[in-house]
Amino acid sequence: MSADWILSNVSVLAPGDREKHLLKDISLRINSGQIILLLGHNGAGKSTLLETLAGLREPESGSIRLGEEHLWTGKGKKRLNGTVLKRIGIALQQSESQWFASTVREELAFSLRPYQVEGEEAESRMQAAMMSVGLDHAELARDPWTLSGGQQRRLAIACLLACEPDWLLLDEPTAGLDTEGIQRLTGMLSACRASGRGAIVATHDLEALLPLADGLIIVRDGLAFEEAPAEAVHALGSASPQALLAEKLLIGKGMLDAAETACAAEAAGLWQPPEELAKRLAAGLLGNERIAAPKLPIAAAIEEVEQEPQEPLESLYRLDADGSCQASGTVMASDSKKPEDKFDPRALIAAYLILSAGLLSLNSMPKLAIGALIAGACAMPFRRFLIPLLPIIRAFFYFSLVFILIGAVSLQPLELQWSKSEPLAIRMIQLGLIMVIGMPLLALMSPIRLQRGLEQTLGWLTRLKVPIHSLSLLVMLIFRFIPLLMREWGRFAQIVKARGKSTARGNAIPLRLLPYLFIPYIRAILRMAESMADALEARGFGQPAERTTQGFKLIFAPADGWLLLAAIAACAIMLTARMWL
């Protein structure tokens, strides 16, 4: 049976940033069998809220229940509740790019697998799902990638419907759909509601979906507010449907009577049909003594349209003084120097090489202890860059331990001999220390400064026809590309986990689901690379000038001198230790 969502004091933190709340202290009750719209600008937390309901994000505090069942169970180490997951179906944004199988039928079967429905039952569910999204039954044998964009979006929804969930969670389902596709979607949503199921839909398309809605949840800066659909225009401002906005503006100009409009709108649903509104307006314009003024020439009328200051609507989409969106990203004080601009990349690399040489010269465990102290002292000021990399350090540690153990095994007699693996241990510790002091390096230099360092140091190589400038652009592109690759991976991992009803926490992906992730992921990155190449060429990166120029140059500053001096001093201590100990 369908059940209500009950959220109490749910907070969600940004991944990797324990200070930043994506959702703050949200308490909501969402009644079963209703269609609820989630509204708010991009980045306000709509998608986060949907993903939290679907168990794809773990709340930092608070509880989420579907009826009597908790989404997260267990006291100490929390685990996801599989029975709740099976009662919901989520379609993330752009979920049409998720296909891995060679036929539509296999895709549907994969979505059904966690439900252990087979044979006749599965077949009839697939057919019903296909029918309710308006896909022909013959398409079951087709390759999903050969469907049109709109059909793929419908298939994504069919995959959810086949599972017959109590709740549909949809993120931007109308984006990229044509009018017909949107009508189909609204029809499907009404049918779901009629059969007692509910839907929570994050959307900007109020024109299409507001008439369906039983309630609105407005998400702003991580907070959620409930609102009645009829009140939407007050909260939505310029994003509200034209009809509501037109009524409001016309009432504001005294062209319409507020009370009368409210009556008419209530009689007709949310807003009055265009004919009604026109009739009311025409009566005012043509009747009374207000005889039509001579027509304004077009140009003058346009001028007025442009210059009319926007009414300060209390709106979701508020602007701040410089015309950019307040809620999207915080402004950093421009005078604060970024940490990565403090040192010259050349000085950093030189210092790194000097320290590494010192560490490599230490050839016994006691000497390495001194080396470890020095490396620790060097890494100390930059420890906050190391925190996200701790898993790598830990992995290296275990990895080395295994090697050292294997190295210590002697077969006759079977025992562990420290003397055998001591050289290996020394090597691994040296490498480990060099790795740790190298880790903050990338955070300390921005790609453009690294590129400039390369050009200034190796620029003379261009005379030998070494394409240093192209290489240095490549460095910048790699810096740009890697975060995008990781983001795509995260996105597909979520899609696959949602479809596979995986109860794994956090970013972990069960091994059994990995194969279903690779194919769509590889396709997505190929497509991304293509669109990047396209966009870069269009912006003018495609045609490098004969001679590139340098708008700024790196200058060796006193801080760089001190850095180098410190490195040399540390290296000297290590060399002395090697000589005298």
Partner: protein
């Protein structure tokens, strides 16, 4: 080509070279279009109508398979005009807006003298003055599009060629980006604005509608849904398959009731404006 014409396409057709033997493979055919200095042109069309291809051909990015003649007034250097495209994330290099624009200028061989100042000036012009050293991933989609536009400004592009730059943005960000570009236009920038969204047009925009690689409508946006007589569904907008927004339907009804409107409004604001101006 007169002095004020910045871009002129005369009888331009295009088909990918391998497919040029058949007439039906033409993505563009018989395009005539002249863009004057300081003009705003809205280029409207559904998916696959050829509007992006037209933009690329006009910019000089398509090197093979284009027939007819394309004149660009500032094409002395032969450099293509930059285009900003849909995907906010795709076209940017570097980790901050500042790095992106500086790198772009350097790659294009812009004189080193004052390069950084020009980049910063362009970023200030698009309203990113306070955010130019902020990491790109903390910017919204619309702000990323503004960074790309700043790149065009800094590179002294003769005009802004903008290909559905609001397609991936939410309504609030769309309004902001539109507002910025409109303001730049008022200050004299030539703009070719490609879109699928009727709500981004102003009634006075010179509007070009494309379908199947041809220009099928060229007039002001305010007459896109102008019917020849009340209740005759024969407006160019309807003919080309655009869904009339609510404001258009109200305007049609008003005309049917005998209220003559100077233009057919496309948005609620325009509707309120045209009705108010009627009374005065």
């Amino acid at each position: 080509m007169t002095q004020h014409t910045q871009l002129e396409l005369i009888d331009v057709s295009y088909a990918p070279v391998a497919l040029a033997s058949e007439e039906s493979n033409y993505i563009l055919s018989g395009i005539h279009l002249a863009v004057k200095r300081g003009e705003w042109i809205s280029l409207l069309g559904l998916n696959g109508s050829g509007k992006s291809t037209l933009l690329k051909a006009a910019a000089g990015l398509i090197r093979q398979g284009v027939r007819g003649s394309i004149h660009r007034s500032e094409s002395g250097s032969g450099k293509p005009i930059p285009i900003v495209m849909q995907q906010p994330d795709a076209g940017l290099v570097g980790t901050t807006p500042w790095e992106d624009v500086v790198t772009l200028l350097e790659r294009q061989g812009s004189p080193a003298e004052g390069l950084v100042q020009r980049a910063e000036q362009a970023l200030r012009e698009v309203g990113l003055g306070r955010r130019m050293h902020q990491p790109l991933e903390t910017l919204s989609g619309g702000q990323k599009q503004l960074v790309a536009i700043a790149g065009c400004l800094a590179a002294e592009a003769p005009m802004l060629l903008l290909d559905e730059i609001t397609a991936m943005l939410d309504p609030g960000m769309t309004a902001i980006v539109c507002g910025h570009v409109r303001r730049m236009h008022k200050q004299g920038t030539t703009v070719l604005w490609v879109t699928q969204s009727l709500e981004e047009l102003l009634p006075g925009d010179r509007t070009v509608v494309m379908k199947d690689g041809r220009i099928v409508f060229e007039d002001s946006a305010g007459s896109l849904f102008r019917r020849s007589a009340p209740n005759m569904p024969d407006s160019p907008g309807e003919r080309e398959g655009f869904v009339p927004p609510y404001a258009v339907k109200v305007a049609w009804e008003l005309e049917a009731q005998g209220v003559q409107l100077p233009f057919i409004p496309l948005t609620a604001e325009q509707l309120a404006e045209v009705v108010a101006s009627y009374v005065r």
